[in-house]
């Protein structure tokens, strides 16, 4: 089965996927090319929020028109759907709060499957080893037990009470703190992190990752932050996020196999991996086949 057929065999084909940060597209006309689910696609921006997405090979319909794909602009990004009747895109209510700064923090190409990137985003255990001195530092390596729930109604995974010692949790923080995370997975290839805000104890900063599957084993990770931080410059916020992602990329590209194995026996999990285990189960029960190695069908 090729990449496109795999996508068509599950809900991945008719889901929304991110393509570009809106601010990276030039207004009025210059087409930007990328790839989605193994297909070349192009995107044009006409005004502040008017975009058009088409297959890159520009198939003409019998009436001479070019077939246009479904698209929308949300959270600062252009989203597209190759299939028909997509579910509405998930909501991030914090994005619309007026005193927040919404910053696109960059796109990163990685030679790995989309679910491996999501799983890495949900993982705290690697902080002291991969993000040494920033998100974690030895000897503070313990991942204390946290809660994971899968709500069937809204069909997303929620991990709460995720506590971890961090030497510098965000660009605005000074000195080590125990940070309190909440993770949300509202889409097989998108995840959102809510972390304690160093400027306002009552609120949480939002860090989101939207993964564009160029192919089953190659992705572009779009990142966005929606934070309460009156001080840091956009550049320093971006730089921090890019430092973090730059540390994850070589790890992700050394994972083997590149697709995420859904059979629980293929990779050993411990209690710290509770959210990863829930994510794998959720992908399996949602019938996702894209970027994963499915379990042998059990009937």
């Amino acid at each position: 089965m090729n990449s496109l057929e795999t996508a068509k065999s599950c809900s991945t084909y008719s889901s929304w996927h991110p393509l570009f940060a809106l601010e990276d597209l030039e207004e009025r006309g210059v087409p930007a090319y990328t790839q989605l689910l193994g297909q070349a696609v192009l995107c044009e921006r006409f005004s502040e929020s008017k975009v058009s997405v088409r297959f890159g090979d520009q198939k003409h319909l019998p009436n001479g028109q070019v077939e246009e794909l479904q698209s929308q602009v949300q959270y600062g990004f252009v989203w597209a759907c190759l299939g028909s009747k997509p579910q509405p895109l998930f909501d991030i209510p914090e994005y619309h709060e007026v005193d927040r700064r919404n910053v696109c923090t960059g796109v990163f190409g990685v030679e790995v499957s989309a679910p491996r990137v999501i799983e890495n985003f949900l993982d705290m255990g690697h902080f002291p080893f991969v993000h040494t001195g920033l998100l974690g530092i030895e000897p503070h390596t313990e991942v204390v037990d946290y809660q994971v729930t899968v709500s069937n109604g809204s069909n997303e995974i929620l991990a709460t009470e995720c506590l971890f010692f961090q030497p510098q949790a965000a660009v605005g923080s000074v000195g080590g703190v125990i940070t309190d995370y909440v993770y949300r997975v509202p889409h097989p290839f998108c995840a959102i992190l809510y972390k304690s805000c160093p400027f306002d104890e009552s609120r949480r900063d939002v860090i989101a990752i939207f993964v564009q599957p160029e192919d089953e084993e190659r992705i572009r990770a779009h990142t966005m932050m929606s934070i309460v931080d009156p001080e840091s410059s956009d550049t320093s916020i971006r730089l921090f996020q890019q430092t973090i992602f730059g540390q994850d990329k070589p790890i992700l590209e050394n994972q083997f196999p590149k697709k995420l194995p859904l059979n629980p026996l293929d990779e050993i999990s411990v209690r710290a991996d509770r959210v990863a285990v829930a994510y794998r189960k959720w992908l399996a029960s949602s019938g996702i086949r894209y970027g994963v190695i499915p379990c042998a069908d059990v009937t």
Binding site: M124, I251, N254, P261, A272
Partner: protein, 588 residues
């Protein structure tokens, strides 16, 4: 030609590729390999994939005794490949069955060899035995192994660089699909050249050559350069021939995704079952007054990896098994070291070891079990050891010393002549402090001083005679230090066990009700009724016989469970503890 490469030993690296503290990336068809040499010289060849999240181990760290995964810091021991530490859960000992897939290894003739075959014989290459050998620079070729071997055979005459006009007299001998030998060099009679073609994947190979001479070559660099340039010419030619045979079909290779060892792993199984090992006493030495040390080795098997704080059961026919902590540090992977104190009134194992056991004798032992795991996430660790209690503590101190974490070891002994493992302790330098011949009162003052310096983030590990452990425990609670920082291993239960009061146990899974009369333990009743519960010390010290309690009020008489574990009431040590309620429902 029969493709028997996978049934043979294949060279996958030169010895000089394995420089200290490096991890070398090796390849065989369908199998990526992480190859690393420990400081003790042992070469490990492992599947290049951490069993946790599949990250290549070649990007990990070789610290001389263990390989640490780059992603989550999981540590895998030299020789066995067993996981010895999972930093995300510093208080837990990793399951014994969590082992990296390791391949057979032989280092010989300047090359490192392995095989993917299940059965194999010793490696002997006649042409290289008892000769001076010189390993040529390895040459990678973009061509399948069989083509490379054929071409080497056909072009063998080129290796004779004699200036004589006559035909070259090189004799080519095929010794298997990957091995050819060239003899009869005109320039240097007595010299022969062995080539091995290592298959890397379906269209890549590595040529590894070994030159053997009767005498040590006088100008090795010159020889190396000469043969390397010939090899490079041959490589260029093979590759240019290959360009025309473009890669039409690339066979896909089956890569096993599940390690058979790991598929047995159940969710929370910590016990490896009751497989016992036979080892030989390779050394028995007087260690201190009343203490002998034993070193145990296995001639044909790798010994299962040691986690700091682990112990083994020593079993002699007709005697109760006795538990002894391993003194091994992370670098000591080729033997088990234990210290045994003579207990005149014990079960007889120590008397037997002291008086009867000889160097060279065979002994049955259990694989190591760890009920005293060492956290490595403490800002500072304090160890208090008394007498023979030094054994697990020393293993822990050696571990922290190896990974350069901050600790202090306080070792209390009756007199100079009671200091065991003095050389090991000396090596810890100023991190180890001896307290010799203190009275009970002075000991108490000393411990009080140690505890006064307690700071947040410190962990305390205690092992020694029961009165001393009780003293430390009492003083930590008097000083209001958190229970979670106190870790102790009891060799014995200091409390008198009361087997009074009859009650019933209900076995919920097997649907049985058993009477436990006065004078008999739950464990005894279970065993009499054919219910198998593993047990070891049978005095409430080791925790082997723990069973989950579903309902009822246990009266705990063991010293294994912590106060908070007792309060939760989820577990009972069936060898000594009893029930306050008429009925105790157990998860059996």
């Amino acid at each position: 030609m029969k493709d028997d490469a996978s049934k043979e030993w294949i060279p996958i690296a030169s010895s000089i590729d394995l420089v200290p503290r490096h991890v070398f990336h090796g390849c065989l068809p369908g199998q990526d390999l992480a190859i690393w040499r420990a400081d003790d010289g042992f070469v490990n060849i492992w599947q290049n994939q951490c069993p946790h999240r599949g990250v290549r181990l070649t990007i990990g760290t070789n610290d001389g005794a263990q390989l640490r995964c780059r992603y989550h810091g999981w540590c895998y021991a030299n020789r066995t490949g067993a996981c010895t530490y999972i930093p995300a859960h510093p208080g837990d000992s990793p399951p014994q069955a969590l082992i990296n897939r390791a391949f057979p290894v032989i280092e010989k003739y300047g090359l490192v060899w392995t095989t993917l075959a299940d059965s194999y014989s010793a490696l002997t290459i006649d042409g290289l035995e008892n000769k001076h050998t010189l390993v040529l620079r390895a040459v990678s070729v973009n061509a399948p192994m069989r083509i490379v071997s054929d071409q080497l055979r056909q072009k063998a005459q080129r290796f004779d660089r004699s200036d004589s006009k006559g035909d070259s007299q090189i004799e080519v001998i095929s010794c298997g699909s990957i091995h050819i030998e060239l003899r009869g060099f005109a320039v240097s009679p007595g010299t022969s050249l062995a080539f091995f073609t290592q298959p890397v994947d379906c269209d890549r190979s590595v040529i590894r050559g070994v030159l053997s001479c009767d005498q040590e070559p006088t100008e090795p660099m010159l020889l190396l350069r000469l043969f390397s340039s010939t090899l490079n010419e041959i490589r260029d030619q093979i590759e240019s021939d290959q360009v025309t045979v473009l890669r039409d079909s690339q066979p896909t290779l089956d890569v096993p995704s599940t390690l058979p060892e790991l598929s047995r792993l159940s969710d929370d199984s910590q016990t490896p079952g009751d497989q016992s090992l036979t080892v030989r006493v390779s050394e028995k030495r007087f260690e201190a007054d009343g203490i002998v040390a034993l070193e145990l080795t296995s001639a044909n098997e790798l010994l299962p990896a040691v986690q700091p704080g682990a112990h083994i059961d020593l079993c002699f026919p007709g005697k109760h098994a006795a538990q002894y902590s391993l003194v091994n540090g992370p670098t000591e992977t080729d033997r088990y070291i234990i210290g045994i104190k003579l207990e005149e009134d014990g079960g007889g194992v120590s008397r037997y070891v002291h008086k009867e056991l000889q160097k060279g004798d065979e002994v049955r032992i259990s694989p190591p079990k760890n009920r005293f795991p060492l956290r490595r996430d403490a800002v500072k660790t304090v160890f208090i050891a008394g007498g023979i209690g030094i054994t697990p503590i020393l293993s822990m101190a050696k571990t922290l010393n190896h990974v350069k974490l901050d600790f202090t070891l306080h070792y209390f002994v009756r007199s100079e002549s009671h200091i065991a493992f003095a050389r090991d302790i000396e090596r810890l330098g100023s991190d180890a402090q001896l307290h010799v011949g203190l009275s009970i009162e002075h000991t108490q003052n000393q411990i009080s001083k140690i505890l006064e310096e307690w700071a947040s983030g410190t962990q305390l590990y205690v092992c020694g005679p029961s009165p001393m452990m009780e003293m430390v425990k009492r003083m930590t609670s008097e000083k209001d230090l958190p229970e979670s920082m106190f870790h102790a291993e009891y060799f014995e239960n200091p409390n008198a066990i009361d087997l009074g009061g009859a009650f019933q146990v209900v076995l919920s899974r097997s649907d049985k009700v058993l009477d436990v009369p006065q004078g008999k333990s739950i464990l005894q009743v279970l065993q009499e009724n054919g219910v198998v519960v593993p047990s070891s010390c049978e005095q409430g010290a080791c925790g082997t016989c723990l069973v989950r309690v579903l309902s009822g009020d246990p009266i705990h008489q063991d010293v294994y469970l912590t106060e908070s574990e007792r309060r939760q009431g989820n577990w009972i040590a069936t060898c000594v503890s009893r029930s306050d309620s008429d009925e105790l429902v157990l998860d059996l």
